[in-house]
């Protein structure tokens, strides 16, 4: 009898222990990011402090954010999700959410409230552009130019329309090989009012108008596909002005000492953040949630700005942005959101491009190839 009792108790204990360990958090976590300076800023600001608090946690990086959507879809079809947390731009997060590949979440449940006590939902505000998207930073696609390559006597350009003014600013320009941003800039410089741009771009005539405008500089344009190209093209003197992400410009100008000037006019704000893939096991999900709560709190988001010039997505983080960790310069003036830089801005229109991307892209590529 006693033996049976003991046996039963042990079994019960084992069962309970098993149940408890199922609630525990996994020790391994695979984080997908962009590589380079950006991933480094995440390592310094989020992962290293987190690992200090949780020494057992082992983080593996996968630099696949570029192809995250396609790879996640493939993993999902194979039924084997190997990623725990994926860093993607907002447009990709929306598509992953649409495809059911990213997990929907409740901001106030998953994310910590701001330092000043505002709820997470209010602190991130409009930047939660999708039910699956956990915002991290605000970046912008903006321009830079080489003052020393401008013709003698030419004034420094102060408008994005300098790209279309080949008389005042001769030489080649570099633009991204996709319609997004370029079509907007073309219309803006063709005299379309800023708040009507997407209405115009939704029509056949508007799309043609934008392409016609781009046609005026087609032969003068080098089209890039990787964001590392434009700083290189500008440094080599291949082009006189180029578009890229503001963090790339910061790193070229401040960290590598290149002699470029920023042209913030009509910069296009975009967001980058996390998504949690659907289909994670309980343990892994618990770990990821714990990490995300830590990595998106007010202080951590402000910390990231010490390493890269992207604006934190939380309002409460903005006052905490300080100096660059190595260069010791003030980061605020280099933020796309700095009032001095943000006099004339666009915000990436996710809804519009989700609808029109395929259509306009076909026209854009066809136009490029002619």
């Amino acid at each position: 009898m006693k033996l049976i009792k003991t046996l039963m108790t042990t079994t019960a204990v084992t069962v309970v222990a098993g149940a408890v360990s199922a609630q525990e958090m996994a020790d391994d976590m695979t984080i997908v990011s962009w590589g380079g300076a950006y991933q480094n800023s995440q390592l310094k600001a989020y992962v290293e402090p987190y690992q200090e608090m949780n020494p057992d946690v082992n983080v593996v990086w996968d630099e696949s954010s570029n192809e995250a959507v396609a790879k996640l879809r493939a993993m999902n079809e194979a039924g084997n999700i190997t990623w725990d947390l994926v860093d993607v731009v907002a447009a990709d997060a929306i598509r992953l959410c649409d495809e059911g590949l990213a997990m929907e979440y409740e901001p106030d449940e998953l994310l910590a409230e701001g330092d000043d006590g505002t709820s997470a939902e209010d602190d991130f505000g409009d930047l939660i552009v999708s039910d699956c998207f956990i915002p991290q930073i605000v970046y912008s696609t903006t321009a830079a130019y080489r003052a020393d390559l401008l013709p003698d006597g030419a004034e420094a350009p102060d408008s994005i329309c300098a790209f279309f003014d080949t008389e005042t600013y001769p030489g080649k320009r570099a633009l991204e090989r996709r319609p997004i941003n370029n079509m907007e800039w073309a219309l803006l410089c063709d005299g379309v009012a800023k708040d009507e741009i997407y209405d115009v771009l939704a029509t056949e005539e508007g799309q043609q108008q934008a392409l016609d405008k781009l046609d005026t500089i087609k032969d003068e344009t080098v089209w890039w596909s990787a964001a590392a190209e434009p700083p290189q093209l500008l440094a080599d003197g291949e082009v006189v002005m180029a578009s890229s992400y503001n963090g790339r410009w910061f790193s070229a100008i401040e960290e590598q000492g290149q002699d470029f000037e920023m042209l913030w006019d009509a910069q296009v704000f975009d967001l980058d953040g996390w998504i949690i893939p659907t289909g994670l096991s309980e343990e892994r999900l618990a770990r990821v949630k714990d990490f995300v709560k830590f990595a998106t709190d007010t202080q951590r988001l402000a910390d990231q700005a010490k390493y890269i010039s992207y604006g934190p997505a939380r309002q409460s983080s903005a006052p905490l942005v300080g100096q660059h960790a190595e260069l010791g310069i003030d980061m605020a003036p280099h933020m796309p959101t700095d009032p001095e830089n943000a006099k004339n801005t666009f915000v990436y229109n996710y809804e519009f491009w989700a609808d029109y991307r395929d259509d306009i892209d076909a026209k854009f590529q066809s136009w490029l190839a002619q």
């Binding site: 959507v69 396609a70 649409d98 609808d355 259509d359 026209k363 190839a369």
Partner: protein, 538 residues
């Protein structure tokens, strides 16, 4: 080897096949028996079968490996170019009731379709499948993506709760899930009310998926809507149950809500017949749409027609890919032949050194080599600088040699050159130098000796190298992406875009299938013209 492959009629001797034939002949005059008494024919057939099985067993691991890792995935990918299950799976009822809608008439579908569509959309939105469907249809009609996303957010807040309220006001029993379960279980009611019964089945299945118990959940508005719809259409429920009969009589006086207006309220694009045409057009589980798209055409209610001029790209890209791959193969032959000849004819030590130089690029990363060409060819690059310094080119008229076709051909020729040189070299090595000497001693000039004696023997090497280089070039992707600019990109760059960026895998699969067929046709043509036996890889 059996009759089919080896041509046994040409083989004489005691092969199993011949023995079988002998046995056949002998059988005419009575069965010939083996030592153990079984007919010889049978015993031989058994031996032969055993041999075949053993052979199959030996290659089985490789066969299975190739099947699993190569044939099945590629086949699966190619099938995506015609597969189109998503519409029929997500909107099963709509697809059915829309099949007799006349798209030509430009009228909107009737209330039947709207009810079906409401039920389908409700489940799709709960399961988060509507956005995926929207993305799929957005490939065909711009704007459908946001149409589905917007509607999905609204569909569970439609004003259809007025039916719920009216049914419950009529008889509080309608509020109980048990009422519905009893009514729509096995019984005549489910035959009379197919739509309601089907919706109930889906609702039960949905609760199982969610891990909920259907009898504890509130009955959703869509059930009342479905029931109202069927009752108001005159479903005969008189003999079924009192509650149902009472409802059947009362619905005539119900306050109604138009689903069409509800949808139009969510997004007025639902009133655009074009949206319904696209849904109808893409209802079948197999679609020619992707292939039409890959051929710069589109599927319309009137059949397949060409796309507008400003959206055609793929035909041009296929042509360009073929043309440039041929150019690259040609320049590889021109550049590779002399090198291979040198390698084959120099003394061993020098040849080895040269060989290392040929192989060196093989050991360097593809990206490094491509980027090196960028540095060489760009306008502020090495070659332009030298030309300007020599005074051959004016400083303000530097040559454009990169980000165009020229740059792509140069960089890819360099990268693919070893694939041409190596097969050529291995063939040339086997050509005895005495043949050339013999030709010359018989009075041939250098040129005649080369052209009539040496070159024909080296053709298999050229053939092998050309096939390798051409097939590699036609699927090349990374080099054209980096140095191709606008005029030097290949079809594979678009395939990559659709795989990793636009997520239109169906179109990517269709483009890939076409590329595969083109390569196979060219291979066949090559076999007809040159003969594949004339290819020697080593």
């Amino acid at each position: 080897m059996t009759d089919n492959t080896a041509g046994p009629d040409h083989i004489t001797g005691p092969t199993p096949d011949n023995a079988l034939r002998d046995a056949d002949r002998a059988a005419a005059g009575g069965p010939m028996l083996a030592a153990d008494g079984t007919p010889l024919k049978k015993s031989l057939a058994r031996a032969l079968r055993r041999q075949k099985l053993r052979a199959l067993g030996l290659i089985a691991p490789l066969l299975i490996f190739v099947l699993i890792t190569f044939v099945i995935p590629i086949g699966d990918m190619l099938l995506r170019s015609i597969k189109n299950d998503i519409v029929a799976d997500t909107l099963p009822r709509t697809v059915q009731s829309l099949s007799d809608w006349d798209a030509e008439a430009q009228d909107l579908p009737g209330e039947d379709v709207w009810t079906d569509f409401y039920i389908d959309m409700w489940f799709a939105a709960e399961r988060k499948e509507h956005t995926r469907l929207g993305t799929r249809l957005n490939y065909e009609l711009t704007g459908v993506s946001s149409l589905f996303r917007k509607t999905g957010r609204r569909v569970d807040r439609f004003d259809t709760d007025i039916y719920t309220d009216q049914f419950i006001a009529l008889d509080p029993g309608w509020e109980e899930p048990q009422t519905w379960a009893a009514m729509l279980g096995d019984g005549p009611a489910s035959d009379v009310l197919p739509l309601t019964a089907g919706a109930w089945e889906d609702w039960k299945a949905f609760n199982v998926e969610e891990g909920d118990k259907v009898l504890e959940e509130d009955v959703p508005d869509l059930m009342y809507t479905a029931l109202y719809h069927e009752l108001s259409q005159g479903a005969d429920v008189s003999g079924l149950s009192d509650r149902l009969a009472a409802a059947g009589e009362a619905v005539g006086g119900f306050e109604t809500v138009s689903l069409r207006e509800q949808f139009a309220d969510a997004d007025e694009d639902w009133l655009d017949p074009e949206v319904w045409q696209i849904i109808q057009l893409y209802s079948p589980r197999v679609t020619p749409g992707y292939f039409a798209n890959a051929a710069d055409m589109q599927v319309t209610p009137d059949g397949v027609e060409a796309r507008p001029e400003n959206q055609r790209i793929y035909g041009m890209l296929f042509q360009r890919t073929l043309f440039m791959s041929l150019m690259i193969t040609g320049s590889c032959i021109l550049l590779g032949y002399p090198v291979a000849w040198l390698l084959a004819n120099l003394p061993m030590r020098t040849a080895n050194l040269l060989m290392i130089l040929v192989l060196l690029p093989f050991w360097t990363s593809l990206l490094v080599r491509t980027s090196a060409w960028k540095v060489m060819l760009q306008q502020q690059g090495v070659i332009n600088d030298v030309l300007v310094w020599l005074g051959l080119v004016a400083d303000d008229a530097r040559l454009t040699m990169i980000n165009n076709q020229f740059g792509t051909i140069v960089a890819m020729t360099h990268i693919l050159l070893p694939f041409m040189i190596l097969p050529m070299y291995s063939v040339m090595q086997t050509i005895p130098p005495s043949y050339l000497r013999a030709a010359k001693s018989l009075g041939a000039t250098n040129w005649t000796a080369f052209w009539r004696v040496y070159f024909p023997q080296s053709v298999p090497g050229i053939g092998a190298g050309s096939i390798l280089v051409f097939i590699l070039a036609i699927g090349y992707y990374i080099t054209p992406e980096i140095v191709g600019g606008n005029t030097g990109t290949f079809i594979s760059n678009r395939i990559a875009y659709h795989i990793s960026s636009s997520l239109n895998w169906g179109l990517a699969a269709a483009l890939g299938s076409i590329l595969l067929v083109v390569v196979l046709v060219l291979y066949w043509a090559y076999d007809k013209i040159v003969g594949i036996d004339n290819v020697k890889l080593g």
